[in-house]
Every structure is written in C-alpha cells, then in structure tokens.
C-alpha cells in the first residue's frame, strides 16, 4: 500500500518526508514496545504507535521501517521531526485510535508484518 493511501485513509497530518509518500508499505505493525517492533517486524513495514519520542524514529531506522503513524492525535516535537527528516522517515499523525487505525488499514488489504502469530495455531472453539 502506498504511503499516500495510508495518509488518506487515516486522514493524516504529515510531519516529515512528505515528498516520499510514493513509497510502498509492504505490511503493517502496531506496538508501543520498541523491542517487539525489532523482534517481529520485517523490512518495509509501516509502524503504528502511540509513542512520539525519538527512540521510535531510531527503532524505525534500525528496522527499515520508512513510515510511522502516530495515533490518537499524538504530535512529535521538532527534535523528533528533525531526526526523521534526516533519516527520510515519513511521520504521519492520525486522530484515530490504535485499534481503529489498524482496522482501517487491515480492511484495505494491508496485512501484518508481525511474524509471531504464524507460530501459533488458532484457538479452538469449544
């Protein structure tokens, strides 16, 4: 899914790398725990998170995530935006909740990057 489509679907404000929204997100991941992002995401994911500090941007750079969507109307400050610009990471802000934002993207075909669910069998019904 194009990053510009993510921007439109989630009615996002764009804080950085607006000229790079023609890039593709291959899959999605949502977490407020940076080690979980590093453990379970694959290169080319979009990250949805409620954490707006600089560590989120650094984690994205390390994990080869080129777009972060901050949910629930959270706004990064200038120092965070500056690091994102330097690393060419598109920072978007949406007022949707984490659950809604994930649901909308999933519904439009963006599947999960997290490789943990694949290791489990689906729960059996009684």
């Amino acid at each position: 899914m194009r990053l510009s489509e993510i921007r439109d679907l989630l009615a996002c404000e764009v804080f950085s790398a607006e000229d790079q929204l023609n890039r593709e997100a291959k899959h999605g991941c949502a977490s407020d725990l940076m080690s979980d992002v590093l453990a379970f995401s694959r290169a080319g994911a979009v990250l949805l998170t409620g954490l707006v500090n600089v560590h989120t941007v650094q984690t994205a750079y390390i994990a080869e995530i080129n777009c972060i969507v901050f949910v629930r109307g959270k706004r990064p400050d200038e120092s965070v935006i500056a690091v994102a610009k330097e690393k060419k990471i598109s920072l978007l802000g949406s007022s949707y909740s984490m659950y809604e934002a994930c649901g909308i993207l999933y519904q439009h075909g963006l599947t999960s990057t997290m490789q943990c669910a694949l290791n489990h069998t689906s729960p059996k019904r009684a």
């Binding site: 407020d32 725990l33 940076m34 080690s35 979980d36 590093l38 453990a39 290169a43 998170t49 954490l51 500090n53 600089v54 560590h55 989120t56 650094q58 984690t59 750079y61 390390i62 994990a63 080869e64 690393k87």
Partner: protein, 141 residues
C-alpha cells in the same frame, strides 16, 4: 574489501538523548561498506538492543565494530551492575526496566533474546558489580 575494518564507539549510561546514535552510525557504515542488506539489518537490531541496555542499566560502555571479509563482530563492554543470572535475563519477557523506561517504549524483556535471534553467535560474560561483555558475531553470507 581489503584489510579488516574496525571502529569504536562510546556509549554513556542513562543518556537517553544520545541513545541509539552508535547503532545508527554503525548501520550507516555497514551500508557504505556494501554489506548485504539482510546482514546489516540483523547487526543493526543487535547493536541497538545492546546499546540500549548500556544506556538503561550501566554507567558507561563501548561498542567495538569489526568487519572482516567473513564476519561482522561486535564487542560490547560496559561498567555497571552486571547480570547475576544470565539464563534468566535471556528469557523473553524478563525485565527489570523502571516505569520511566517502559514509558519510553523499553522493557519488553526482548532485547537479549533479540540479539541472540539475530546473531550467529552470542557470548555473554558478566561480573556482578563490575560489568557485562557481549561478543556478537554475524557471518557474512
């Protein structure tokens, strides 16, 4: 690539503003050296986890990066409290992170397991009251 490449970085304990800069620099360097993208990502993840552990738990430390035609090696050394039970620390979910650290997105207890998962070899030595040493090796293809 000719002779082995080596570079050393200093990491300050509890400096959350600087945190992550050694890893991001290492990632950029490895890309410039033309190392395979998959290897670069694995090294970057392991370095970042190791660097964050110095920042969170130790007083100070160093990360030494060494690249030969066969391997990328990281030697991560810190002065700090050390780890009394390494097997326990290696378990997914085990964490002594403070509420402040958790608020910043750390403390999943996934850092050391992540390093192990991404590396081809991990050796941990630690002395309580002195510090911790990680030797992490990645084979290049």
């Amino acid at each position: 690539m000719g002779k082995p490449f080596s570079h050393s970085f200093i990491v300050e304990g509890r400096n959350f503003v600087q945190a992550g800069t050694a890893s991001t620099k290492i990632k950029t360097m490895l890309k410039e050296l033309g190392i395979d993208g998959g290897v670069v990502r694995r090294v970057a993840i392991a370095t970042y986890e190791a660097e964050m552990n110095i920042v969170m738990y130790a007083n100070s430390g160093t990360v030494v990066l060494e690249v030969t035609p066969e391997v990328v090696r990281l030697n991560v050394n810190d002065r700090g409290p050390g780890i009394s039970d390494i097997d326990l620390a290696m378990q997914e979910g085990y964490s002594t992170a403070t509420p402040e650290m958790r608020e910043m997105g750390f403390g999943a207890g996934m850092g050391l397991p992540n390093i192990k998962k991404n590396a081809d070899d991990l050796r941990i030595k630690s002395t309580v009251g002195e510090g911790t040493n990680l030797e992490i090796t990645f084979r290049i293809n």
